[in-house]
Amino acid sequence: MILVVDDEPSLVEAICSVLEDEGYSVTSARDGLAALHALHDGLRPCLAILDLMMPIMSGWELRAAMLADPNLADIPVAIVSAYARGEMGILQPSAILQKPFELSELVELADRYCGTAAS
């Protein structure tokens, strides 16, 4: 399962579509808090794709909460952002996708962290 956290529905749609086309199962959350609830409810994605600028709880806050929780700290996180790469070191991301990114990059990441088989 891949978790996509982004407040822009049409972007979530494109990301989900391409990943589903590749055979991955995908779930999404509209903000950090919704994602955190899902994680606390037991969701354990093989990869979380995280936007930074979101209402209610930002990607920064969600990532901080994940890093603080030993159960969540090890989940691979790909940050999707318009920010420069240099500013994101403290988030300890597994990967950074700078907007606008190519979908093929996304597929590569999914392949790397979730295997080629559907999870």
Binding site: L11, A14, A82, G86
Partner: protein, 586 residues
């Protein structure tokens, strides 16, 4: 003091002897009966030798006849034609030379009651000497005055130079005017206030200074408690200067001050600060009055004069120009800041919608590619072309947003560069391949050196530079022209040259095209699309990588060459770390 009753007993003979002028007394027959001691000094005669001689003895011969006639008439008729006022005439000295003398005549009575004539002869040479002495004194006085004027004039220029220097040291308007106030106090004025004129004609005190530092705050207090009023009669001097369009210089008496004060507290404040004289000089820029510099000397100090007024005007003129410069600089700074902020926000905000468009275009392209039935659909060719055009548009958009973001990074000095060993030949080859593939028109020729060219560079950023040069060359060249790309090695440097046969660059613009948002005249005029950011960003990247970038052109319509030169680094050299961040703000 000699009383009138003493005159009889006064020793007149001794007085005559002591006189510096020659005194000669003659009877009615022109016979000399007395000569004092000074006769010897004035005419060279021993007094005793003169006594008994005719007056002709001390007269040049040519005057003898006139004397005889005139004296004869006087002796017989008493007519005193020459008496009463001094006569200037030549006298004959004992050695036969003539002396200019001033003669005063008086009739006296001799011991026996006889009429006598007394002549007092003053040597004019001595007068001349005396005049010379006086002239000398006057010269000394002149010189002293001239020196004083020179001193003042030097002080004037020194003050103005000091003001200019202080003004040039800062572009902050507050610092600027305060430094003026500090410079003129206490040497030129005891205190000083600089007021700027607001649009509603009220005054804003922007600087003040007092020779007594404890009173500096009192000036601000005075201005806020009793702001200069233009409705009093007469209006406050600042308003009179502003309305008259000229400086005002006044000496202020305690009575004047009492008249001007609004109340006792006001008067007390004015007296504490001290006003004996003041000059109000206008601050103006471009013919517009923007405020005034008020300079005040306390009572007891020499009041301001005309020279001081012109000094004050010089100070105000400099302060006015500097204030305006500072204001312009600040507004330019604000504009640049605003532009940078806009760039940062705009490029950032554009990224999300761009991601959506880009993502869906990619999705569409993938579906088309992966759909085995795609080619059999109606309009298959049209759909394919449409998706391709969409892709080109999105790519262009992406590049523009990228450039905007880069410019904003440049402005904030936080462009990210990651150095690592890079082979420039492969970067150039890749860029040429990409450009050839996407070029709708035009061709590219590529000349590469035999081996690789390694250096410690940022591959992605260098790729961006080469892409940019190739896209520009294709964009500004007419359809079927070939763009030459040549990469060569010379000594320890790699040199890339991209030459097109396109619209060229006006000779005076080969430098300015590298400034952000600046495009060559002919590029804008011929409506080539672009923001004018690519070259600015490219040059910044090359510069940060330690290289240089420049353009050459024979002129408009005669093509252009762009050059990039970079230092080669030995990839086997272990001293530089494999990857180094060289961003300015890390």
């Amino acid at each position: 003091m000699l009383g009138s009753g003493d005159v009889q007993t006064f020793d007149f003979a001794a007085l005559l002897e002591a006189m510096p002028d020659a005194v000669v007394v003659a009877d009615m027959q022109s016979r000399i009966v007395y000569a004092n001691a000074s006769v010897e000094r004035v005419l060279g005669w021993a007094p005793a030798a003169l006594v008994g001689q005719h007056l002709h003895a001390i007269q040049p011969e040519r005057l003898h006849e006139a004397h005889t006639t005139g004296f004869g008439r006087y002796a017989s008729t008493g007519e005193r034609k020459l008496f009463g006022s001094p006569i200037r005439l030549p006298a004959l000295a004992s050695d036969g030379t003539e002396r200019d003398v001033e003669l005063n005549l008086a009739e006296i009575t001799g011991p026996g009651g006889e009429r006598l004539v007394m002549g007092v002869l003053r040597d004019l040479r001595e007068r001349v000497d005396l005049t010379a002495v006086l002239d000398d004194a006057r010269l000394v006085e002149h010189e002293r005055a001239a020196r004083a004027a020179a001193d003042r004039s030097r002080a004037h220029f020194e003050l103005l130079a000091a003001v200019s220097e202080r003004l040039a040291a800062s572009l902050d308007p507050e610092v600027t005017v305060q430094s003026v106030a500090d410079t003129v106090v206490p040497a030129f004025a005891d205190w000083c206030v600089v007021d700027l004129l607001r649009d509603d004609r009220t005054l804003e005190t922007v600087a003040s200074s007092h020779r007594d530092p404890r009173l500096a705050g009192r000036i601000t207090e005075l201005r806020s408690a009793y702001p200069p009023n233009e409705r009093t009669n007469p209006p406050h001097p600042i308003y009179r200067a502003i309305d008259g369009g000229a400086s005002i210089r006044e000496t202020v008496s305690p009575e004047d001050l009492a008249r001007r004060a609004v109340d006792a507290r006001h008067l007390a404040m004015l007296n504490e600060l001290g006003i004996g004289s003041h000059v109000v000089a206008l601050l103006a820029t471009g013919g517009r009055i923007i405020g005034a510099v008020s300079l005040v000397r306390r009572p007891g100090r020499e009041p301001f004069d005309d020279d001081d007024t012109s000094t004050a005007e010089g100070v105000a003129r400099r302060a006015g120009i500097a204030t305006e410069n500072a204001r312009l600089y600040r507004s330019a700074e604000q504009a640049v800041e605003m532009r940078d902020r806009f760039l940062a926000v705009a490029s950032h905000e554009l990224r999300t919608p761009l991601s959506v468009v880009y993502g869906h275009w990619e999705l569409l392209a993938r579906w088309l590619r992966n759909d085995p039935a795609a080619s059999t659909r109606p309009n298959a060719k049209k759909i394919e072309t449409s998706v391709q055009r969409l892709g080109q548009g999105v790519d262009q958009l992406r590049r523009l947003v990228e450039e905007l973001l880069d410019v904003s990074r440049l402005a904030h000095g936080n462009m990210d560069l990651r150095r690592a060993p890079v082979d420039l030949t492969s970067v150039v080859r890749q860029a040429v391949d990409d450009a050839s593939a996407s070029a709708v028109t035009g061709r590219l020729s590529l000349e590469l050196p035999d081996g690789p060219l390694f250096g410690q560079w940022d591959a992605a950023r260098l790729g961006q530079v080469v892409d940019n040069l190739l896209l520009n060359a294709l964009k500004y060249s007419p359809g079927d022209q070939t763009v030459e790309v040549a990469l060569t090695r010379s000594g320890g440097r790699a040199r890339l040259r991209v030459t097109d046969a396109g619209i060229g660059i006006p000779p005076d613009e080969t430098e300015s095209i590298f400034e952000p948002f600046n495009r060559a005249r002919n590029a804008s005029a011929q409506h080539f699309p672009g923001l004018g950011l690519g070259l600015a960003v490219s040059r910044e990247i090359v510069t940060r990588l330690g290289g240089r970038m420049w353009a050459e052109s024979e002129g408009e319509g005669r093509g252009s060459s762009f050059f990039v030169e970079l230092d080669l680094g030995d990839p086997g050299d272990p001293s530089p770390p494999a990857a180094t961040d060289v961003g300015a703000q890390r």
